[in-house]
């Protein structure tokens, strides 16, 4: 069995995992994977978070990608980072930069085991703010300025690729270089609020090719979170594992402790368990029926006979799921255009809706009290209805 096959059958512990600490966020990005905005009252307490880290240490998980929501808005965020790194669990966290002031930047620069990813989805405020909201470009740049001033070289500038920023690839690279940061480009997924915006935002077929060629020319200089393996048929694999790691070598823990197969698949269908259950995270990882299924050899379905199957492996499970495509068929961004054809055949709005939504409500929610009683002392709740419904 090849090493890649061994990985596809799943490891005893994840290599790394994504941990969304809170659904609270100061921004409301239109493509948010986790539909974040408001805190969930059931979010894990500090003591519960520490138990998760203890489990990760026992399992020798190398590092966690902490995200949200905006993880730094949790008041115990730094305490948790310290707890993880002092328990041999490395931390990489994604932030929009809102809490990265001078003090935080100095603190981060002093640690060998903490890495930072600043999210920015355009090289200019105009392109970024259209997706991440007004003022978000300035927030990110200010955080980057603090990191540079503190001497934190090599932090990550993390960009979700859209139709509007693929034309800025060189500018984004130059921006990262000017901060001695490393550029990280990832794929736009139709997950969370992205389900609504993906059709308009995802790169065109021509842009996908442009992106692939650009990445291919830069090799390991640019990180991708292994998110473009569906483009490998254009000319060979980009650096990375090039496989779907969902439930096999990665997973997601959400703010309330639910464990999903991957960060792009927050839906009942991909829910493996909860860290609050008996046996905690270890038991979920090792005994979940869903994960066992994801680790079972797959037939490859409709893609099996395609000559490119060995390089793209059928693409991203979550991208297929949330666009309403069968999981054993082509990726919606299949380089041969097969996904696009399938999407057109399925028609609009074929995809399932995300199971959880913590988006902030826009403005006050209008409350309808109902109609006034027909008579001052009428206690019959149906009073007046019958007459009205006849009319």
């Amino acid at each position: 069995m090849s090493l890649m096959e061994q990985f596809e059958r799943g490891l005893d512990a994840p290599i790394c995992l994504t941990w969304e600490l809170t659904y609270a966020c100061n921004l409301a990005c239109v493509h948010c994977l986790s539909s974040s905005g408001r805190r969930d009252p059931r979010e894990l307490s500090m003591a519960e978070c520490q138990q998760v880290i203890d489990a990760l240490q026992r399992m020798q998980v190398f590092y966690v990608n902490i995200g949200g929501g905006e993880p730094t808005v949790r008041s115990d965020f730094w305490e948790l980072v310290d707890y993880a790194t002092s328990h041999q669990v490395g931390v990489k966290f994604s932030t929009n930069g809102v809490k990265i002031d001078e003090y935080a930047a100095r603190r981060l620069a002093a640690s060998n085991y903490v890495d930072v990813q600043i999210s920015l989805d355009g090289a200019t405020a105009q392109v970024n703010d259209a997706v991440r909201g007004p003022g978000s470009y300035a927030i990110a740049r200010r955080a980057m300025d603090h990191l540079r001033a503190a001497g934190f070289a090599g932090f990550k500038l993390s960009v979700v690729m859209t139709r509007h920023n693929i034309g800025q690839l060189d500018e984004l690279k130059a921006l990262a270089d000017s901060y001695r940061a490393q550029l990280r480009l990832t794929r736009l997924r139709p997950s969370g609020r992205g389900a609504d915006t993906w059709p308009e935002l995802h790169p065109t077929a021509v842009q996908q090719r442009q992106l692939y060629d650009w990445l291919d020319a830069r090799g390991e200089q640019v990180l991708t979170g292994d998110s473009f393996f569906h483009l490998a048929p254009y000319g060979g694999p980009l650096p990375g594992l090039n496989l779907c790691g969902a439930g096999r070598v990665v997973c997601l823990i959400d703010p309330v402790g639910d464990v999903y197969a991957c960060p792009f698949a927050i839906h009942q269908e991909f829910l493996a368990g909860n860290v609050r259950q008996l046996g905690g995270f270890e038991r979920v990882w090792r005994s979940s029926a869903l994960f066992a299924e994801l680790r079972a050899p797959s037939s490859g379905g409709a893609c099996r006979s395609c000559g490119f199957f060995d390089s793209c492996r059928g693409g991203c499970m979550a991208a297929k799921f949330f666009t309403g495509l069968p999981l054993d068929g082509p990726d919606p961004e299949c380089v041969r255009g097969l996904g696009e054809q399938a999407l057109q055949a399925a028609g609009p709005a074929a995809g399932p809706r995300p199971s959880a939504d913590h988006s902030r409500r826009r403005g006050p929610v209008p409350v309808t009290i109902g109609r006034p009683p027909a008579r001052a002392c009428d206690e019959n709740p149906l009073a007046g209805l019958a007459a009205e419904s006849r009319g």
Partner: protein, 114 residues
């Protein structure tokens, strides 16, 4: 997925000559490297470079774990039962690990590499 590990599936596989890697020098596992044994060998993760590597069998795991007890890589390999015929393959695997800074020549110069 979300692993930013520029891992190479080819790590440890037969490849070109092991330039700059001297079997007769002492080498050590870098102290920022975490080693996780796996049924197929082991996973190595370097916290400094954030790079992942694979050890494709348990013998090479035994070798890198014992490097600290040996004056040279050659003697560590011999102690792990690697005969002359198999040695070149292990030399290439270890040279790959040296290239990605998972193991470092000893004694290393003072001062940390960031």
């Amino acid at each position: 997925m979300s692993t930013d590990v520029p891992a190479s599936w080819r790590a440890g596989a037969p490849g070109g000559p092991a330039a700059g890697f001297d079997l007769d020098r002492p080498w050590r596992l870098d102290d920022r490297v975490a080693v996780r044994p796996e049924p197929f060998g082991a996973l190595l993760y370097h916290f400094g470079t954030r790079r992942l590597s694979f050890l494709k069998n348990t013998t090479v795991l035994e070798v890198i774990r014992s490097l600290g007890d040996h004056p040279s890589v050659r003697s560590a390999c011999a102690a792990a039962g690697i005969g002359p015929a198999a040695l070149p393959a292990y030399e290439r695997a270890l040279a790959t690990l040296a290239e990605s800074h998972m193991i470092r020549e000893w004694p290393v110069s003072e001062g940390r590499v960031s």
